[in-house]
């Protein structure tokens, strides 16, 4: 079909941060198709240079309000690797539980408040509050509980206080863990209802497939969040310090966030990449949830299924949180703030934050003053892949009305759950 069309979405809504979608087609041929990132850059590299090691997680967690626990975790891991610190078994469990809380909070927010309105044909969750009050109340209930889990551990989900390099400066009381565990157990019905809701809306998920490279942490035994190796569907896994063997960054004009690629023109990170690479390590409940929503067998190449993968991970982290609390309750939880001796060196920290694999790298002098930083953010890694998806999708749907094309493109961008504030905070890069 010959068609001339121009789509210009200024500031895509229901995503974190500022991005524009730009498509131009003439006589049915797509001439331009990109996600422009127009978020103001914030220069965290300049901010951390010259600051003491203990300020680094405090500063870089403020790259993003939604993923601040993830940034704190990656920054702490990098500093621990630079200084040769080891966490106690208790603090490892606390960090794991906190990470479950981070994934639960973010995925519930994204699935219900940012992505689901598209599937339900609404412009936001606000009209759903009157048309589907039970669903909205369920979403709020689940989100409150996930936040509460983070609050008893580190004070707050947005910019945590209690976790520092080497361990924790605050620990939860036993009765707080018991109470939150009981509430988590009570959340199972809500979790199953979430699967049913997505299953009922699954007909609205566009049928579009494009195989790409998938990058995530991989492990042999334990679905990896901040352990294992850096893995890829196209390349052998590497240890953390060698992450640049997979992550290749470049500056492009239409984005204040850098683009990243490896073997192909682009790769994908996030829930779908993790589930595609580590499907066998998911708990049974997560696999059953996936099967009910249409993810029966790995890998799945439809990027709109990122939302389905998020629900699968929500189930996995829910079960893991309860199991981790049980392990903590079997211990005598003690507050033992870490003793840290800085030393000169470089450390890399890697964490699978809600939107995908996150790298923090810092160099310190012998007094623990930060000399250099490099952060590679999930959304930055996904941008080239989003562009590639859009270029593949538009010719397939160019016969549809403009509004329908625009909605599918916006849904695609939203499916990736882009965290644009994060993505423009990329720091130092090696200009090879």
């Amino acid at each position: 079909m010959s068609k001339t069309m121009e789509i210009d979405v200024h500031h895509v809504t229901r995503v974190e941060g500022h991005g524009n979608i730009r498509v131009r087609a003439s006589d049915g041929v797509v001439e331009e198709c990109e996600l422009q990132i127009v978020e103001s850059p914030r220069f965290f590299e300049s901010m951390v240079r010259g600051r003491m090691w203990f300020d680094i997680p405090h500063i870089t967690c403020r790259i993003c309000g939604i993923c601040s626990i993830g940034h704190t975790t990656a920054a702490c891991l990098a500093i621990e690797n630079a200084f040769g610190l080891k966490l106690s078994p208790q603090d490892q469990l606390l960090r794991r539980l906190l990470f479950d809380g981070e994934i639960l909070t973010s995925h519930i927010l994204h699935v219900y408040f940012l992505a689901a309105p598209d599937l339900a044909g609404a412009d936001s969750v606000i009209p759903l509050a009157s048309s589907h009050p039970e669903v909205v109340k369920r979403a709020l209930r689940m989100k409150r509980l996930a936040n509460e889990l983070c609050e008893i551990l580190v004070g707050r989900h947005t910019h945590p206080v209690g976790m520092v390099p080497g361990g924790f400066v605050h620990v939860p009381k036993k009765e707080e863990l018991v109470a939150v565990k009981a509430k988590l157990e009570g959340m199972k019905d809500d979790l199953l209802a979430t699967v049913e809701t997505i299953k009922a809306l699954a007909g609205a998920i566009p049928a579009f497939e494009r195989e790409t490279e998938y990058v995530a942490l991989v492990d042999k035994k334990d679905f990896p969040w901040f352990w294992g190796q850096v893995g890829s569907s196209d390349a052998p896994a590497v240890n953390w310090p060698n992450y640049r063997d997979i992550v290749h960054e470049k500056v492009v004009r239409h984005s204040t966030s850098k683009h990243v690629s490896n073997k192909r023109d682009s790769y994908q990170v996030g829930a779908l990449a993790r589930v595609n690479l580590n499907y066998n390590l998911l708990c049974d409940l997560a696999k059953q949830a996936g099967a009910a929503m249409g993810y029966a067998k790995a890998p799945v190449f439809n990027p709109y299924f990122i939302n389905v993968a998020q629900v699968m991970e929500t189930a996995h982290c829910w079960a893991d949180a309860i199991a981790t609390i049980d392990k903590l309750l079997a211990m005598d939880i003690k507050l033992s703030p870490p003793q840290v001796a800085p030393r000169a060196g470089v450390g890399v920290g890697v964490a699978e934050v809600p939107r995908g694999i996150l790298f923090h790298e810092y160099e310190f002098d012998d007094k623990g003053v930060c000399q250099r930083a490099n952060l590679v953010i999930p959304t930055g890694q996904n941008l080239a892949n989003i562009d590639a998806d859009m270029r593949a999708l538009v010719p397939q749907i160019i016969g549809e009305p403009k509004d329908a094309i625009q909605l599918k493109l916006e849904m695609l961008v939203r499916a990736y759950d882009p965290c644009i504030s994060c993505s423009v905070h990329l720091l130092d890069v090696d200009w090879v």
Binding site: R14, P41, F43, E45, M47, S124, K137, V154, R156, V251
Partner: protein, 263 residues
């Protein structure tokens, strides 16, 4: 009576303050019942220029943001600065201590010319701000109290006493006794001493009180042998946008620096 129309806008920041608004889950349906949300990019697709109250988070770091902010100001009856970035430029001002060109070059290399930036500034440097909700991030209980005041037609008041007061009420061990520097002695309360309660020091993310007891603060710093450079480092974290965070002239003392902090 028609519901007041509410809008949320974000400039350079992590959007954690608007996230804290969303984190008021137990009150969310009441908030949605009391206000009509007419513009909130992060949560809904349809956006309008018709609003009474504009909640604005983020610092101003680009020329294009200045124009957007002025437009919001002219549309809104009331403009509320939401959080530290809007209030004091927050952490963003840390980059002001380096040349802007260097910041761009460090991040974007030889492509630095494609992008623009300017020193981070708080909203009040460009427009009249009716009300500030301070903090990094904002405090949810304070946000809810302010919302109630606005609905009742009252003018919200921020506490004008230091974080130390609330910290003592929570029976926390003083951070100085734990060997740390802490700005709770001069920082504005209202957060219920959140950070010291969870093991962290106060970094004055809520700015300073109107009349800090700078002599007492100086005594505390002297007693614990804390250097001027260290104090400057602390102030720069959240209050770096003004003169206070610059090194004082040769014989200036910490006391004068704290006095300047008031602005």
């Amino acid at each position: 009576m028609a519901k007041p129309k509410l809008a949320l806008f974000s400039f350079s920041c992590c959007e954690g303050c608007s996230l804290e608004v969303l984190n008021c889950e137990n009150e969310m349906l009441d908030i949605l019942g009391a206000f009509e949300i007419t513009n909130y990019r992060e949560a809904r697709t349809n956006r309008s220029d018709d609003y009474d109250i504009a909640l604005v988070e983020g610092a101003i770091t680009r020329e294009s943001e200045v124009e957007e902010l002025k437009k919001i100001r002219s549309n809104a009856k009331m403009l509320v600065a939401l959080g530290a970035c809007a209030h004091t430029a927050g952490l963003n001002a840390l980059k002001n201590f380096r040349p802007m060109k260097e910041a761009l070059t460090t991040v974007y290399g030889d492509k630095a010319g494609w992008f623009d930036t300017m020193p981070a500034r708080p909203l009040k440097d460009f427009v009249h701000v009716d009300l500030v909700l301070p903090g990094c991030p904002i405090t949810r209980s304070e946000f809810l109290a302010v919302v109630k005041d606005l609905l009742a037609g009252k003018t919200p008041q921020l506490p004008d006493y230091p974080v130390c007061t609330q910290c003592k009420l929570r029976e926390n061990v003083c951070m100085y006794h734990k060997g740390q520097i802490c700005l709770g002695v001069v920082a504005r309360a209202g957060c219920n001493a959140h950070c010291p309660t969870f093991g962290g020091r106060c970094v004055a993310c809520r700015g300073l009180i109107d009349q800090p007891n700078s002599r007492a603060a100086k005594d505390v710093l002297d007693e614990h042998g804390i250097s001027l450079e260290r104090v400057l480092q602390e102030f720069r974290l959240y209050n770096g946008w003004n003169a206070m965070a610059e090194p004082p002239s040769a014989d200036a003392k910490q006391e004068s620096m704290i006095m300047e902090a008031k602005r």
